[in-house]
Amino acid sequence: MMGQQVKVATTETSPDKGLRRRWRIGEKFIEGWIFLTGLLAIVILLGIIALLLKEGLPVFLYTPPWDFFLGTRWYPVSEPPTFGIMPFFVSTIWVTLVATAISVPVGVACAAYLAEVAPDKVRETIKPIIELLAGIPSVVMGFIGLMLLSPLVQSAFNLNTGLCGLSAGIMLALMSLPIIVSVSEDALRAVPEGFRQASYALGATRWETIIHVSIPAALSGITAAVMLGVGRAIGETMTVLMVAGGALAVPLSPTEPMMPMTAAIASGIGNAVRGGLQYQALFAIGLILFILTLAVNVIADRVLERQKRKFAR
């Protein structure tokens, strides 16, 4: 309706109607372009799912799904090959748990300091430095873990080898820290100043204000930050390939050498002939990894939703 009115107005009164019409065509073109890019993201996502299903599912004709998930033996180049991914799945869980246990308390505390306590000058210096940490390539982090961290972990915990899930988890914590700090800090700074003022007016100390007012108010943002960090830890490949040790046993503790799912795919895909059994098995692992990260995102969504409802009340 609005559009028509404008059109009528221009045809009757405006001398530069040609220019206006061209302007409108340009706008339509841009709208279409933006719509297409939005559509493209969906198409690519569906394409990836289709590819994972097409390449990965046929392995279940050879190994039944329960043997594939619960099997503990992975010998892809033996005759006959056996595919059991339990060791990889448990390794991924261990490494992610270690990374989360370290990065979340440190990251949220750091964000609270930066947002609530630190003077402006300190914050403006420290935050870019932490964000710079995110730019370090994962292969460099792997190298640092290999050369510096693994001997330390080995002597500190008196282990047979420092190449283990714990070392990999610590490196992953360092890698997801910048995301957690940066996003949580933004969330904390978005809490209205009135909340804090009200808290102080009631006689609360700064510590009480942070714990009982600022962090609960920013919890949805902090949850999103944590989930982004967990997602990074699950999907990271190069660092765990280099540092986690790569043993095929089901790890009973994080101090054992292990091979997470991403490392298993990376170290096996090179010699897998396209369409072969090992190739299909690796794609099936990719499918499971995809489902895992999807689950993390869905859980994050649910938490955010509940948080919103709580605040709406």
Binding site: D16, L19, R20, R22, W23, I25, G26, F29, I30, T72, R73, Y75, P76, V77, S78, P87, L146, P151, Q154, N160, T161, G162, L163, L241, M242, G245, G246, A247, L248, A249, V250, P257, M259, A266, S267, G268, G270, N271, A272, V273, R274, G276
Partner: protein, 300 residues
Amino acid sequence: MFSNPVKKWFILPVAVLVVAAIALAGCPATDGGGNGTSGSFNIIGSNTVEPLSAVWAEEFMKVHPEVSIAVSGPGSGVGIAALIDGTTDICQASRKIKSSEVEQAEANGVEPYEIQVATDALSVVVNPSNPVSELTIAQLSAIFTNQITNWSEVGGNDAPIVALSRDTNSGTHVFFKEHVVQMAGLPTADTSLEYGTKVLFLPSTKEGVDEVAKNPNAIFYPGLGYLTNEVKPLAIKRTADTPGVLPSVETALDGSYPISRPLLFYTNGEPTGAIKAFIDYCLSPEGQAKVTEVGYVPLQ
């Protein structure tokens, strides 16, 4: 005033198209002719053969500047997969191609052509602080299947054994499994044996050597070319009654060292043009002299 932004928006996609067209047009031009000693080809495969191929490629390109060779060493399995898929010109391998792989290649219209370019002795190394100095093949097999887990069981300190292996991409992984873990050629041979689940799988040979240099309890099996002063090679006994033999060019050549293997090139059919010229160079006395320099065993 309004016409300006319209023009800008029009220019952007056109510019993108023009750039794309130029980029596409440029592509076929780089694909030079493969005749004579000019052109470019690539060598993909074994991490063990890579240092040798890299030296050969460098020397060959000095003499023939119009040839360009790209060498990469992710593992023999990767090289053979690339040969089957037709994405490499030469596959370098530290194990023989399997009959199942030949079938896959032939189904893809690729005919693997095998050329032995050198020999390698697979050394077994430990940390210099480890008192153990020799092991039998059977003991190595027991170590890598996790039946022996403490150094005191083979005459060393009371310390756990950390067994390191290459990952499944590696020809060394497969060769060591067949000839040491499964003890091929010995009376005790057992093809049902596999690496134990406590064995660490590492993505590169260099990483394993580095770990042995740092870790007093580690054991690893790099090719002869990867030996450094920071690790100690073990003398290998075929059986408990035979004398232990240290890995070296001499012991590999006279056949007394038990774990040696051919280093191979595979091409699609008999090589021609620049690839043939390159392989001829590798097999020439000049090329074979480089084999000793890099630390492997020449053919003669």
